[in-house]
């Protein structure tokens, strides 16, 4: 039941705020409503994490299984295991931090706070729901819920080219989810159930090889648009760049993870023989994404666009981990998901801070010397960049290192030479990643300041939103085992006993 409350609370809150009766509330009250609601959700998720049985993280816990529409076999089935718990926590945390940040820092021109808060809450419902849904159609419904709110966040409060970016975002992702639906139903109809736990336990038995191959490519394409995988990524740079700060944080921090989570939860366990066929291609495109993302970053003149492209590279590592079809690789992918959510979320927050203070994100116009003009902001930016380039000891390192390790010894039946080649190129991509982040840092944080006027210091709200992310990046980086232990058992189960 606690899962229902976690999803239901933001939904009810959003509905209440969007009702005309809420028109009388002052903006300040509504902002605090957002903080309170998402705070309660975060507290409930914390309680959930506290009550979670870590000894059996492979078991679905806190399950809820109600009939919904028996005529199409749809059940309202929710649950969490070790794979979904970290993502649920990440979603609740980032949403809460976004609301805290929004108390003071709203996009300009100032939005209608009621609509703003309502949309972010609906977004949270969709994100949380996707990670806890255990019925294929229910998963799809939650998957779709995020589209309109995110479209509106970008289209209403984004940058100058927001309208085109928002359209590109929603059309691309809808194309993906259309194919995803066909793939999901192809699995569901041929297996005779929509229950994701049962389907995962069957490991594709009862589905012919042809069906599995078709289902994996359909589901995979749908999820790959979201993740995003090269060459389906082109919506991402525009959407991330044009979205307001909070929108980018949630897009990069959580929305992309819906894609990779879907791979681990649905595509790999339910169509394993399809996965074997497609894994080399997936790995190939993932590696192209890594290299492409890094090279594109080197060419960027806009800080926010650079961070956006860096996401393509990082998600490339996640996809490479998945493509190895080994527990090590998939674990790495899930770890990379969380690490990327924390670090890139932080980076987009910081970019928002830079934009507020400097009025531009053009690397040349920003000039150098940020460490002198805005020391705190520059230090945070340095920390986040170094974490993102994968310095050992910080969260970004483990996911990518383990993904490469997984590629060194790919799952049974996969061509080893191919994957070792992927590993080499992935490693090259990691070096390039370091190059562009260091180039960016040397360009704007170091050097001589072109203007000497001091820049406004950090506000309490910024500290409140950023420090938790920094702390978690450190914790996850220093004690990676806590997170890896959580996902190891369920990953073994999903991959069929570690074979």
């Amino acid at each position: 039941m606690i899962l229902l409350e976690i999803i239901g609370l933001p939904l009810l809150g959003a509905l209440a705020l969007l009702l005309p009766a809420a028109r009388g509330l002052t903006d300040q009250t509504i902002r605090w409503c957002g903080v309170a609601l998402s705070g309660v959700v975060l507290a409930m998720v914390a309680a959930l994490a506290g009550a979670f049985d870590y000894g059996r993280s492979q078991r679905m816990q806190f399950q809820l299984n109600w009939r919904w529409a028996p005529s199409i076999g749809l059940r309202f089935h929710l649950g969490v295991d070790g794979v979904s718990l970290p993502l649920v926590a990440l979603t609740a945390l980032l949403t809460f931090l976004c609301f805290v940040y929004s108390l003071r820092h709203l996009p300009t021109p100032a939005p209608d706070v009621r609509l703003w808060t309502g949309l972010l809450l609906v977004l949270e419902v969709g994100l949380l729901g996707t990670f806890v849904a255990l019925d294929l159609i229910l998963f799809f419904v939650f998957f779709e819920i995020v589209l309109i709110p995110m479209y509106l966040v970008i289209a209403l409060w984004g940058g100058t080219a927001r309208r085109a970016a928002a359209f590109k975002f929603i059309l691309y992702t809808l194309l993906g989810s259309g194919l995803l639906l066909v793939g999901l139903l192809l699995i569901g109809m041929n297996a005779g159930t929509l229950d994701m736990v049962q389907l995962a336990a069957r490991h594709g038995s009862g589905l012919s090889h042809g069906i599995q191959v078709a289902a994996f490519v359909l589901v995979g394409l749908g999820l790959a648009v979201k993740a995003p995988m090269w060459p389906l990524h082109t919506w991402l740079p525009d959407a991330h760049t044009e979205a307001p700060t909070v929108g980018s944080v949630l897009l990069a921090g959580v929305l992309l993870k819906m894609g990779t989570y879907g791979f681990v939860r649905i595509a790999l366990p339910m169509a394993p023989s399809g996965a074997k066929v497609w894994a080399p291609y997936l790995g190939f495109l993932a590696v192209i994404g890594i290299i492409y993302g890094a090279l594109a970053c080197l060419a960027q003149r806009d800080l926010k666009r650079m961070i956006a492209y860096s996401s393509i590279g990082h998600m490339g590592f996640v996809l490479l981990g998945i493509a190895t079809l080994t527990p090590v690789g998939v674990n790495a992918a899930l770890f990379g998901n969380i690490a990327h959510g924390l670090i890139t979320g932080l980076l987009f927050f910081l970019v928002g801070g830079v934009k507020e203070r400097y009025g531009t994100l053009d690397l040349d116009e920003l000039g150098g010397g940020m460490l002198a003009r805005a020391p705190r902001l520059a230090s945070f930016l340095t920390f986040a960049s170094i974490a993102s380039l994968g310095l050992p000891g910080l969260a970004g390192f483990w996911g990518e290192m383990l993904a490469l390790l997984g590629a060194y010894k790919p799952g049974g039946g996969l061509p080893r030479e191919t994957f070792v080649t992927f590993m080499v190129f992935g490693g090259l991509g990691a070096v390039l990643t370091a190059a562009y982040f260091l180039r960016m840092l040397s360009k704007i944080t170091h050097g001589r300041a072109t203007a000497s006027a001091p820049v406004a210091g950090l506000t309490a709200y910024e500290y409140a939103a950023w420090v938790p992310l920094i702390a978690l990046t450190l914790v996850v980086g220093l004690w990676p085992k806590t997170l890896l232990d959580l996902t190891t058992a369920p990953v073994h189960l999903l991959l069929g006993g570690g074979s």
């Binding site: 005529s71 419904v141 289209a155 194309l175 259309g178 194919l179 066909v182």
Partner: protein
């Protein structure tokens, strides 16, 4: 030989027919327009109530073959009031009520002859009600023509308007051609099977001598062609945009919801009761038809600047989605019919709503999409309602009902093994989203126009009813899905 007639079963049809006659007579005695409107509404209301009562009872059938003529064969009734029929009769009557509500203002404004208008509308509804209950090919054709003939006149009722006349002529010509095609198909089927009752045709097709196979196959395809006109499927679609635009708007609504629903009911009845064993023939044909219909409808809708034409092309595209499940042929046909019916029912609600808002806006501000710009500033509720209907039609949350409509259709198509068609559909929803969403976004843009929309009581009621229905079904879409799967 004298045959007993089950008047209880046919009462909904009779009530509406009597209301039609009453309106016609009353008009001769110069009864005021408003009274005619009330008679029309009352007739439909009573019929709807009757359908609800019948729904509580068990299946009824009448006009059956007497046992002396039946031989060893099935009962072969021409008129059956089972739960499928009643579901559609309820849908037709409820949608017709909304159409009448929209008509009340339109009659005054366009100075249409009220008596004729109500009479013709009720006659067409009689056709629709009979069509969904018909179980033999002759009754089907007669009902189909009863549904079509009054509509020609209704479209042309704005006599001073050249566009309306042109539209009526187009509609008439396409209709006549498709009727001829269908009658030819029926004659082939009759020639091959020697039967007119669907249950007998089905039995006969099962054991057809192989030399008659091609004849029967051609017959089934031609019969489908006749229905393709009713539901505005490619290649019988091109009347739709001109007619929707030229006709009085409530008649466009009637065509896109009531007439289309009846057409799909007829198609589903014919295919599932009459031709199930020829699924391998008509299944692929319908698949191609569906793919072409949805793709063409969506692509052309992209270029529209006129709200009614856009809805017309989008309703062509939606017909494609509704046809898609039937492409499964005889494999898992009951599930496919249920999916089509669910889609038709859900589509009726959202399309009625969108048309009702368009009717209100078009007469105050104008019918072009540009006239909708910034609607939210003066009329936020109306704009929100239209945006919601459009998002429902696009099939995205918060329009959960539209999302579920898409899901059931894809589900049935995939279950029947026609995965490629489901992929075509997935791509099409993206095209559809583009024009629905740009229209919805337009409502909330800044504008210089400041013309308020005068909704009027009847139209307001129609919008409110559709909006209430859409919200309820978005919260609990299973109401329709479960009811349909129980009925089919």
């Amino acid at each position: 030989m004298i045959q007993g007639i089950d008047y209880v079963a046919v009462a909904p049809v009779l009530i509406v027919a009597l209301a039609a006659l009453a309106v016609l007579l009353a008009d001769l005695f110069d009864v005021p327009r408003s009274v005619l409107g009330w008679v029309n509404l009352a007739g439909l209301g009573v019929a709807l109530g009757w359908v609800a009562v019948l729904g509580a009872g068990s299946r009824r059938a009448t006009f059956c073959l007497p046992s002396s003529l039946r031989g060893q064969g099935p009962p072969s009734c021409s008129y059956v009031a089972d739960s499928f029929t009643l579901l559609f009769q309820g849908l037709v009557l409820a949608a017709a009520l909304i159409v009448v509500l929209l008509s009340l203002g339109e009659i005054t404004r366009s100075s249409l002859p009220a008596g004729e208008y109500h009479f013709l509308l009720l006659s067409a509804i009689v056709g629709a009600l009979t069509l969904v209950a018909a179980r033999d090919l002759i009754t089907l054709v007669v009902a189909l023509e009863t549904l079509s003939l009054p509509v020609f006149a209704l479209v042309a009722l704005r006599r001073y308007d050249g566009v309306a006349t042109e539209a009526a002529v187009k509609l008439f010509l396409v209709s006549v051609i498709s009727a001829a095609v269908m009658l030819f198909g029926i004659s082939l089927v009759y020639g091959a099977t020697g039967a007119m009752h669907l249950d007998r045709i089905a039995l006969s097709l099962d054991h057809l001598p192989s030399r008659l196979g091609p004849v029967a196959a051609a017959g089934t395809i031609l019969v489908i062609g006749g229905f393709a006109f009713k539901v505005a499927a490619v290649p019988f679609h091109f009347w739709a945009p001109d007619v929707y635009q030229g006709a009085p708007l409530p008649i466009a609504v009637f065509l896109s919801v009531v007439s289309k629903a009846a057409g799909f009911a007829g198609l589903a009845i014919t295919l599932s009761l009459g031709f199930p064993s020829y699924g391998h023939v008509w299944g692929p044909a319908i698949a191609v038809l569906a793919a072409l219909t949805m793709t063409l409808g969506n692509l052309v809708a992209l270029w529209q600047r006129h709200s009614v034409r856009l809805l017309a092309w989008s309703s062509v595209a939606q017909s494609g989605y509704m046809l898609a499940p039937l492409a499964v042929g005889s494999h898992k046909l009951p599930g496919a019919v249920a999916a089509t019916v669910s889609y038709v029912a859900l589509y009726a609600v959202m399309n009625l709503g969108a048309f009702a808002v368009v009717a209100a806006v078009a007469r105050s501000r104008g019918p072009l999409l540009d006239d909708f710009q910034g609607l939210a500033r003066r009329d936020p509720l109306l704009a929100t309602a239209l945006a919601f209907f459009l998002i429902c039609l696009a099939g995205l949350p918060p329009g959960i009902m539209g999302l579920f409509a898409k899901i059931v259709v894809v589900q049935a198509t995939v279950a029947g093994g026609v995965t490629w068609l489901a992929v075509v559909m997935a791509v099409n929803t993206v095209i559809g989203l583009y024009y629905y969403l740009s229209w919805a976004a337009r409502l909330f843009r800044p504008t210089t126009s400041d013309v308020p929309v005068r909704t009027g009581n009847a139209t307001g009621l129609a919008i409110a009813a559709a909006a209430a229905g859409a919200v309820v079904l978005s919260v609990a879409p299973q109401i329709v899905l479960d009811a349909v799967s129980a009925a089919t």
